[in-house]
């Protein structure tokens, strides 16, 4: 019953506002968290038979008639579902305390659940237009979540995010229309087969370019990144975590990867374009992150940089590169989610996001400091945390494939990343305690619990990285690499 991944959050979202009118305090929190907990458990439960037997494709029958509700759960989708439900659960836990002063919590949970349903639907789709529909579902929910606090900055960020996102959607649908016109098909398998029969070089290139523009905008690849540094900091902290940790990856990187590797096939030209875009994002965003004073803005630029790493690994196209890229996608979702949540803790306790105003918070907020440190070191790529392994795999893959220059740039960007994260540590947590913060307390229970859970996952995946690689990264990479191989073979390369 894979449809549960989409149907359950939607149904709960539908009833939440009604329930919210009846009981404002406990029930919405309980319902939302229970839903996410169920999703986590269900992902793991659904994953086992999958990994034993291969992809699960389910066709449904409604009221006795078979309908075209095809959902496919393969290794790649499973990886994304796992990331979405894990980070989603921690975000809902965090929101129990954090969203208290925003009001309309039931409404907030409903929108968050719709966004999660949209992301789940995206990764389970087998059809180009379905991908677009669920992308929009998640996007429409995210616009209002960014603007949720209705403050000045939030509204500005939400409107600009909306404007750029609409351009992305238009590019995607135009490309889908062109592909439909050429192939008469909308499903991944159908279009892939038809494109192999046709010999339509340049037009496929234009369709691919439109997809890169559309999904690249969603993934915030340079030069399409302009909306992210405003949108992610202005949103409430748990939403920033979902946007940076999940949405840019699901609606940007996942869709791009799925379409390019399983439908178009990764030609050398496409691979080069992706690698260049990835590298530029990686480096440019890292430099831009250095100059930031607002902690959430620095994290936002860091997201752009890390997405660059992911795209670089996946664009490489070799099985090892794809595995590294996917592993980094998973790790970054965990770690960046964690970092945005801790920044929310800081903001709640001290009321500021300005790094220059903070100082020595580690003495008053030990848990937040520790978990933030773990998240920072993870993204910076310090062993034995999870980020180290994924970056290492990408770098090794680059060297093995004969791109030593890219590998060197990746290493240098890593050093930059480490530098600005240590800056955060020094300015916010260590050093002398600013007297203004002499009386701050540690974050409330659920917020701390959520961050501790994510930090534990980072450490756990880091220590048990080979288990993680074998059980859920390799199947995902295998699905994609197989797709690459089939298409390349058919082109006679």
């Amino acid at each position: 019953m894979i449809i549960l991944f989409v149907a359950l959050p939607l149904v709960v979202a539908g009833v939440l506002p009604v329930i919210g009118k009846i009981s404002r305090r406990v029930v919405p929190d309980l319902l939302a968290n229970a839903t996410l907990l169920f999703l986590v458990v269900y992902t793991v439960a659904a994953g086992r038979p999958l990994l034993g037997n291969g992809p699960v494709i389910q066709q449904f029958a409604l009221l006795g008639e078979s309908v075209n509700l095809r959902l496919a759960l393969d290794g790649f989708s499973l990886l994304m579902l796992l990331a979405v439900s894990l980070v989603g659960l921690c975000v809902t836990l965090f929101s129990i305390d954090y969203m208290e002063h925003y009001g309309a919590k039931a409404n907030y949970y409903a929108l968050l659940l719709i966004m999660i349903a949209g992301m789940n639907g995206l990764v389970l789709s087998t059809d180009l237009f379905n991908v677009y529909v669920f992308l929009e579902v998640a996007a429409v929910a995210s616009y209002s979540l960014v603007a949720f606090g209705r403050g000045y900055d939030e509204l500005e960020a939400a409107f600009k995010y909306l404007m750029l996102s609409v351009i992305a959607s238009a590019a995607i649908v135009i490309s889908i229309a062109v592909l439909f016109g050429m192939t008469g098909n909308l499903s991944f398998a159908g279009v892939a087969k038809a494109l192999q029969e046709l010999d339509a070089g340049p037009i496929v290139g234009i369709a691919a370019a439109l997809f890169i523009m559309g999904f690249g905008l969603k993934a915030a690849l340079v030069p399409f990144h302009a909306w992210l540094p405003d949108a992610h900091p202005s949103a409430p902290a748990p939403i920033s975590a979902v946007l940076s940790g999940l949405l840019i990856k699901v609606s940007g990187v996942y869709a791009l990867t799925r379409i390019f590797l399983n439908v178009f096939g990764l030609t050398p030209a496409l691979s080069a374009v992706l690698m260049v875009l990835g590298t530029v994002s990686m480096v440019a965003a890292a430099f831009l992150a250095l100059g930031q004073k607002d902690i959430k803005r620095m994290l936002a630029y860091s997201s752009i940089s890390q997405v660059g790493y992911i795209v670089l690994g996946i664009g490489l196209g070799t099985p090892l590169g794809i595995a590294g890229g996917l592993f980094h996608l998973f790790n970054h979702a965990l770690a960046k989610g964690l970092l945005f949540l801790t920044s929310g803790s800081i903001q709640q306790s001290t009321g500021t996001r300005n790094l220059d105003e903070m100082g020595g918070l580690a003495k008053r907020m030990p848990f937040t400091a520790a978990t933030n440190l773990i998240g920072s070191l993870s993204i910076a790529g310090v062993p034995p945390l999870n980020g180290f392994w994924s970056k290492l795999i990408i770098i090794i893959a680059l060297i093995q494939a004969g791109h030593p220059v890219f590998a060197l740039i990746a290493v240098l960007a890593s050093v930059l990343t480490l530098w600005y994260y240590l800056l955060i540590q020094r300015k916010a947590f260590f050093g002398n305690l600013n007297e203004r913060w002499a009386a701050v307390k540690e974050a409330p229970f659920w917020m701390t619990a959520a961050t501790v859970l994510l930090a534990a996952l980072c450490v756990g995946v880091g220590i048990f990285f080979s288990f993680a690689l074998k059980s859920w990264i390799q199947p995902a990479a295998g699905v994609l690499a197989a797709g690459v191989q089939t298409v390349i073979r058919s082109w006679g390369l």
């Binding site: 000045y152 409107f159 351009i167 229309a177 050429m182 202005s234």
Partner: protein, 102 residues
Amino acid sequence: MSNTWYLYLFFSAGLVAAGLYALLAKRNLIRLFIGIEIIGKGVTLLLLATGFVRDNILLAQALVVTYIVIEVSLVATALAIIINVYRHTKSLDIRKLAKLKG
């Protein structure tokens, strides 16, 4: 593909270009939104034209109907944001929304 498709593509491209120009050059928030609507028209025209030349008009209509429903939700959300912006700044000028640096 048949020549009529190119005719429709020609006009669709014109609509999308006009809409994009509006998004880049206009200052009134509501006019920016009209730009978004025009892009939507261009896209639906292209979708239906593609279905028309492929004899797949029913499938294309199903796609367009879904697209229009998505567009309505988008319009509702965007106009809600615009009205909230107005409550803050008493103006519809996008230059007033320039505090964040991007």
